[in-house]
Amino acid sequence: MENHKTVTFSSQIKEIDKYLDDFIIKTKSVSIILITKDGQLITSRGDVSFINTTALAALVAGSFAATKEVASLLGEREFSILLQQGEKRHVHISLLGSIAMMVVVFENLKNVGKVRFYAKEASQKVTESLVKGGKREEERVKVELSNFKEYATNLIDTIFSDSDSALIDQTKTETKEE
C-alpha cells in the first residue's frame, strides 16, 4: 500500500448522512462528526457551529491512536469506544473498523446508554456504506491534473511569498565568515 488516497463520493455521504440524522433524532445528541483514522473530516450532522471540526478531527485521531497503544500495553488489540465526560457536554467516540471514527457530542448524560446502543447500530450501517464505496462513474469529475497543479503551485507561491531565498544567501555568507 503506497501512499494511497481516500476518496469519498457524494452518493456515499448522502446515505451516511441519513443514518447520522436518524441517530441524532433517536439519541437527542447535539452533533455527530465522522472522521478518517488519519484525522480528516468525512461529514458532520447536527449543530457543529461551535466546533472547529478540522482541529477536532486531528485531535480525536491522535487521541484514539494513543489509546490504541494503551490497549496494546494491556494486551488488547484496541479499545473500540472512548467516552469523555465534561460538565455540560460529553463526547462518545467509536471506531468504525479500520476506516473511520464516529464522534458524538451530547449534553444529557442520562442518554449515554442510548448513545452507546444506537452508535453501534449506526456504526455498522456507516461502515458498510464506506466499504462498498460510491457511484464512481457519475461522480467522476474531469479535472485536469496539470491545471490543478498549476493553480495549487501559484497559490503556494502566493502564500509563502517573502524574500526567503535572499535570506538564505545571507546566512551562507555569515556562516562562511565564521
Binding site: 469519498t8 480528516q40 479535472v143 490543478f148 503551485t153 497559490l155 526567503d164 531565498s165 535570506l167 556562516t175
Partner: protein, 195 residues
Amino acid sequence: MASLNYALREINFKIVYYGPGLGGKTTNLEYIYQSISPSYKGKMISLMTEQERTLFFDFLPLELGKIKGFTTRVHLYTVPGQEYYEASRKLILKGADGVVFIVDSQKHRLNENVNSYNELLLRLKEYQLDVDTLPCVVQYNKRDLSDINPVCQLEETINIHKKPSFEAVAIKGIGVFATIKVICKSVIEKFELNV
C-alpha cells in the same frame, strides 16, 4: 494519505515534520503560523509539556483556498523528537503524504540526527511507504550557530536519498518558506486527481 471528499468538495494533504528533539520542528510551524496571512491558516494546536517541549504533536492546517472547485488544505504536523516518544512519532506519521526532516546542524547532534533519520526510514517501511517516491525535503537548521557540521558532510551522512535540501535558521524564519514551498509542491505533484 491525501483525502478527496466529493461531498464536501475538499482535498486534504498531510505533511509531517520529523527529526530529533529540539531540532526546530515546532519553530518551523510557529514561524509559518506567525508569518502567513490569517486567511490561509487555521488554528494551530500544540500539545506541550510544562517545559514547552512537544508532547504529542503540533498541528497547523493551511487553507490553500479553492482549486478547481475543491477547498484544498494542507495539514502540517510535527512529531515529538525525544527518543522516548517513539510510539507517538509512529502514530503521527501514519497517512503522511510528505515528510520534512529537520536536521540540527550542531556537531554534537550528528548521531541523534542519524538515529532519527534511520528511525524514520524504519517507520516508513512499516507503513509500506517507499522513501524513494515519497515527497521528502531535508532542512539543515541552526546554520547561524558556530559549532556546526558543513552542509556537504550532512548531505553525505543524512541525506542519503538525495532529497531536496535547504539551509535554515528557523527561529529567524530563514529557509522555512523555501522548505514548505518545495514539500507542498512535491506532494501536490504526486497527487492524482483522476480517480
